[in-house]
Amino acid sequence: MQALTNHAKSVDRKPMTWVERIYIWNIAKGMAITLRHFWKKKVTIDYPEVKRPFSPVFRGVQVLNRDEEGRERCTACGLCAVACPAEAITMEAAERKTGEEHLYREEKYAARYEINMLRCIFCGLCEEACPKDAIYLSETFAPANYQRKGFIYNKEELLIPDPKTQPEAYEEAKGKHRPTTA
């Protein structure tokens, strides 16, 4: 039969030679290999102290963005929920009252915004769908939890810290690789 690829190698069924049968030479060769590895640089990273940096395209847990004045950008249009293939996003819209202009950027905002992290597949389609740059995937992952309901993230958990009152926390949550979206 014609092989489709050249990956297949025929198994060598030759009887062992005398040198192979007394094992010693081959064992010595093997031991030389392991000894070489003994001095090699170790690949281990001491995880909690040292963290491996994520790649720039890493898609982590979602963050709800604010603008420079600390107002929520989300207008609860629902495009992210529609785009979500895992149906992880739910939201309820509300109308901005007078006197709330410093909280919400536009007249409509999300009163309730939930992402089920057990459903989310971190595809990033919500980020692509959002016309207001209100949601994007950050550089952290969803931490473990003891209960299922702990994985349903509400708006308070998703919102990025206020850039005016907590600038350092805001910068950290935004991540290094994210371009600033004004």
Partner: protein, 348 residues
């Protein structure tokens, strides 16, 4: 009443020596577990235990504590007496072998000559063989008393393996004993010190056979068929938990330490330091240096044991038996005959 005249100081001296040697063996065994994990890690490009203390140096303590805290489980269908006796016997035989090893030259303390050997019996190496062959009972009892098929199979494997390799081991030693003319370990070491060269020079094949058999006797990879994790589910100590399991694992490491010590004694000059004349030195200093040299040789052997374990995969059962009966025993026999012939020829 001369029968009741006992040299009490002698007794105390031996008692102290026994305590020291037992604790040293246990300490070395303890740190062998740490060393084993470090060596394994380094050979696999990892770092090994690193959390408990600097470089994971307290890892054995944590392991020991863990074993003590574990629940003690007796299988309901097991033979309780033998189930407990198994690990005890394994541990005891492992510890007993250290009695005849000459650790160093005598110390001179308080006007007394303190021999650093618990018992210099004139059949030392025979005693070692006797005790080591008792060690298989620990495996047999544990495997049988567990009343578990895997354990039983592993016990049978272990027993047949040890019996097969003991033969070759004994035969390889006969050649050495023809050279040295003595069974006493101290005499063998003293001869090597006075000759200025080690027995490995005259008995390389004997050493090779002895070394391979020592690996098999200690149930170390590539001869760990009796505990073969992936086929026999951890083998004869499968049903054991808590410190009884600890005893089995510990006995393995003590065995490794003692067989390394015996190999260093028989073939590598024991406490002899090459190119250094200790005769002119202060006897206490010489004893300490000799002991250190002996310890270093032993540690090197332990490292080689581990090195082999993390290099070579386990032998198949038929390969094991072929190697033992068709490889090592004929080799040891030929070595014996050739050694005898050479000795006769040299004497003529």
């Amino acid at each position: 009443m001369h029968l009741l005249v006992i040299d009490w100081i002698f007794l105390v001296e031996k008692l102290i020596l026994i305590i020291v040697i037992v604790s040293v063996s246990l300490g070395v065994a303890m740190y062998s577990t740490w060393g084993e994990r470090k060596v394994a890690a380094f050979m696999q490009d990892r770092r090994g235990p690193s959390r408990a203390g600097p470089g994971g140096i307290f890892q054995p303590l944590a392991d020991g504590l863990k074993l003590f805290m574990k629940e003690e489980i007796f299988p309901s269908s097991s033979n309780k007496f033998l189930f407990i006796l198994g690990p005890c016997l394994a541990m005891m035989t492992a510890m007993m072998t250290s009695a005849v090893v000459p650790w160093s030259t005598p110390l001179h303390l308080f006007g007394r000559v303190v021999s650093l050997q618990i018992a210099d019996i004139n059949i030392g190496i025979l005693y070692v063989f006797g005790v080591v062959s008792m060690g298989v009972y620990g495996i047999m009892m544990g495997g049988w008393a567990s009343n578990n098929k895997f354990s039983l199979i592993s016990a049978i494997r272990g027993a047949s393996q040890i019996i097969s390799y003991e033969l070759a081991m004994g035969l390889s030693l006969i050649a050495l004993l023809m050279v040295t003319g003595s069974l006493s370990l101290r005499t063998i070491v003293e001869q090597q010190v006075h000759q200025g060269y080690w027995n490995i020079v005259v008995q390389p094949i004997g050493f090779l056979v002895f070394f391979v058999c020592a690996l098999a006797e200690c149930n170390r990879t590539p001869f760990d068929l009796s505990e073969a994790e992936n086929e026999l589910n951890f083998g004869y100590h499968q049903e054991y938990s808590s410190m009884k399991l600890g005893f089995y694992l510990f006995a393995e490491y003590i065995n490794m330490f003692i067989s390394s010590a015996i190999m260093a004694t028989l073939f590598f000059g024991g406490y002899h330091i090459p190119f250094v004349h200790t005769d002119a030195m202060n006897p206490n200093l010489a004893a300490i240096l000799g002991g250190a040299a002996f310890f270093i040789k032993t540690v090197i052997f332990i490292f080689i044991f581990m090195w082999i374990r993390w290099t070579v995969p386990r032998f198949r059962y038929d390969q094991l038996m072929n190697l033992g009966w068709k490889g090592l025993i004929p080799l040891a026999l030929i070595n014996m005959v050739v050694t005898g012939a050479v000795i006769l020829w040299l004497k003529k």
